[in-house]
């Protein structure tokens, strides 16, 4: 590391009302290297990124770019200095097309006229997307894409800016294995072009595969910066959590009973999924695997009554049901943790308390009048049980870190006493420690007589927590495996389009 760093952070401090997000953070980032930031949810990773890119300004400390001291007031200024960011929260504009999003702010123009050269823009976008190995129509509106594709568009935009530094804040949280590999090829290409890369992820395997250096953060402090070759996975975990973790996946083996609590027969919705049938037993965790866009989310929403189905039956606790709305499903004891927590899971502008109690407030009310004591007590109870990191139960969830937001969503359903929990990508963006806690919660949930369907694109996770695994491909069920025997390879075989028939 004799070379001069591209970005230097010197004793950066940053506070929010009630939270000290960063304390004396000092890190150097070098060209041609992938520098990983690792830490629990709320450790301050995204805050570092936002200070570097000018979304926030540091309270104290010095930021140097290319040896020059800088205080960026907005992302335009950081972009001008060659810093591109893929933010943790999807930041694409739903009402613009793919190509328009990629070139937003840098549109190719016809001569000097100010008119956009649309054909060139679409062509460039197409080439760019192909070069990173994805097939997305550049003229499609973003709002029509699934989250994985949206993420790829963001990646395409960041690399097309020809920056000296590309920052990726959990770029893979909504990507499937195939796309992750495509991303890694891109990263390696950027490295070879001497671009500095900051990479944030909670997936330790990925980190080991792609990283050069790693900085581990805890509660806004830098714990250690080392070369990745000098550290093991368990050391990383120990450093970030502050203690050793003995167990990771908690599988409830003996909870399964014979009672079928949920049965779906021949669920079909034109263009989304076809002939989907499965059973869920009491005390069982059913994993659902598949590639992005396989239709898992759509099936789950339909089961929950959020969308209509064209045909098929659903039997809940032995009773045939036709839910017209989630309200009816909830009454029967079903809860859904949606994959997009920011737009579907949380009232971002509302407090932890209001979000936690939302689905159970009526059941615990006195003739429709809110029981405020109950609300505070039960929220505090779950904050403690789930170790949610929040200044208080009155904090606005928007200001919580991503992982802690997810905990609030889960708490909502636990509090609502759901007997069947549908969890769509429940650990997306969640740190290892919190993951383990969530798995433990899941275990406890089924042991107490609940049942869970868990949709996940992380194969180790599906295998690790489920009793059985259903795999979907292009809207159809392509196989159901016993988790005890399933391997990642088996699942991929059923999930991938080229396999079989």
């Amino acid at each position: 590391m004799s070379e001069k760093p591209f970005v230097e952070l010197n004793n950066i401090n940053k506070s929010f009302p009630g939270v000290k997000a960063l304390t004396d953070v000092t890190i150097n980032f070098y060209r041609g290297k992938v520098h990983v930031l690792l830490g629990e949810n709320g450790a301050g990773k995204s805050t570092i990124i936002k200070v570097i890119s000018g979304v926030y300004q540091a309270d104290e400390g010095i930021l140097k770019v290319d040896g020059q001291e800088e205080v960026f007031m907005n992302t335009r200024q950081s972009l001008a200095k060659g810093i591109s960011v893929i933010h943790q929260e999807l930041s694409v504009i739903p009402d613009l097309t793919v190509a328009e999003n990629i070139f937003l702010g840098r549109e190719p123009k016809i001569g000097k006229s100010g008119l956009i050269d649309k054909p060139k823009m679409n062509l460039d976008a197409k080439k760019l997307l192909e070069s990173i190995g994805v097939k997305i129509n550049p003229k499609e509106y973003i709002r029509k894409l699934n989250n994985g594709d949206k993420q790829m568009v963001e990646i395409a935009r960041a690399i097309s800016q020809n920056s000296s530094m590309v920052i990726m804040d959990e770029p893979t949280s909504s990507l499937s294995e195939h796309e992750v590999q495509a991303l890694f090829r891109v990263i390696n290409k950027l490295k070879s072009e001497n671009v500095a890369i900051i990479y944030i992820s909670h997936k330790l395997k990925e980190i080991a595969e792609i990283g050069d250096h790693i900085t581990i953060l805890r509660d806004g402090n830098v714990v250690k910066t080392v070369s990745l070759s000098e550290i093991t996975e368990s050391e990383m975990i120990a450093l970030m959590v502050g203690r050793k973790m003995t167990q990771f996946y908690y599988k409830a083996e003996n909870a399964i009973q014979n009672e079928v609590v949920l049965e779906v027969k021949n669920y079909t919705k034109a263009g989304q999924f076809e002939d989907v049938s499965f059973q869920l037993k009491k005390g069982e965790i059913l994993g659902i695997a598949g590639l992005v866009g396989a239709g898992r989310t759509e099936v789950m929403r339909a089961v929950f009554g959020a969308d209509k189905v064209d045909s098929g039956e659903c039997i809940v606790f032995g009773q045939p049901v036709k839910f017209k709305s989630p309200k009816e499903a909830i009454k029967m004891g079903i809860g859904l943790i949606p994959e997009d927590r920011r737009n579907q899971g949380l009232l971002l502008e509302k407090s932890v308390k209001e979000n936690t109690s939302l689905s159970s407030i009526y059941a615990n009310s006195k003739k429709g009048f809110i029981d405020f004591r109950w609300e505070i007590d039960s929220t505090l109870d779950y904050i403690e049980k789930m170790r949610t990191k929040t200044p208080s139960e009155r904090a606005i969830v928007k200001n919580l870190s991503g992982g802690n937001q997810q905990k609030v969503v889960i708490a909502k359903w636990l509090l609502a006493k759901a007997k069947i929990l549908i969890m769509d990508e429940p650990t997306r963006g969640i740190d290892v420690n919190a993951k383990a806690e969530i798995y433990a919660l899941m275990k406890k949930f089924v042991e107490d007589g609940g049942s869970i369907i868990v949709v996940s694109s992380e194969l180790p996770e599906v295998i690790g927590v489920s009793n059985r695994i259903m795999i979907m491909r292009e809207g159809k069920v392509s196989g159901i495996l016993d988790a005890a025997e399933a391997t990642e390879k088996d699942i991929m075989k059923y999930a991938s389009i080229h396999a079989g028939n």
Binding site: F304, A306, S325, P326, K327, A329, I330, K331, L336, P338, N343, Q344, G345, L346, L347, L348, E349, K350, E354, L358, S359, I361, Y362, S365, G368, F369, I370, K412, A416
Partner: protein
Amino acid sequence: MKEKTATNKFSAFARENTMLLFLIVLFLLALVFVPRFANAGNLKNVLIQISINALIATGMTFVILSDGIDLSVGSVAALSGIAAAALIKLFPDANILLSMIVILASAVLVGGLCGFFNGFFIAKLNVPPFIATLAMMNVARGLAYVFTDAKPIFGLPESFGWVGLRSVGVIPVTIILMVLIIAIAYVILSKTCFGRYIYAVGSNKEVAKLSGINVTKIKFIVYMICGILAGLAGVVLASKLQNGQATAATGYELNAIAAVAMGGTSMSGGRGGMIQTIFGLFVIGIINNALSLLGVSSYWQTIAMGVIILMAVVIDQNKKD
């Protein structure tokens, strides 16, 4: 050191409650500089003068919190007032009780029906609130003209004026009604599940739906409430003015929205409430009264009103930084 915390506390309080401070400053200024403002009779007048807007703005608070808007309130008020006036003419010797029944029934039926249609188009057929209520604004106003041929319905029995003109003891019935409605609305919005659901729907419909809230129903009810309160405002107005008229309450929608929005309730729903609306009502009411007592020309009143509303909101906005 102690002093400093006191100052800090005060400045924290001030930052949180700029609108309250603005109101207090406004009130003190009026007390000092506006002759006869401090008069007990005048303070009562201020309350009476804001009462019609208060009823409409209360309904509007529900609608705006749910991320909607209702432009039809003025027209609905006029139509309800006309209905009440037309109905009471059938009972020339009505006593107060009968009059009140007629008044309430007209408000609930006409206002409720208009609200029902608004709710139906918005909640069931997904028509944007702006369009649905704009259409209702035209339809209700048009019906009011058709029904009356633009002539006021007058010669109403004495008892019809009870709610608008008389007092219980020293307190005008209108003020009692206003306080009652505001209090109920406050309780509903901040103490009940239904109120919480309105905030949830206003914050994010999709999340509300997935959390088991019947979004359609909430929206429906919210427009019904707004319609009924607009109807109530209309009949109180008719009672106060002893007639029902098609031109009544023209433009009141903007007054009501202004009161709601300037108090600090977000126009895109989910944030704010009755406290904010009360501030808005008082700020607007006091400015109107003070300028009128000062004898400021109506042109300058219009301008001053604009400037002061803006000032209040700018100050309120900047605390958030």
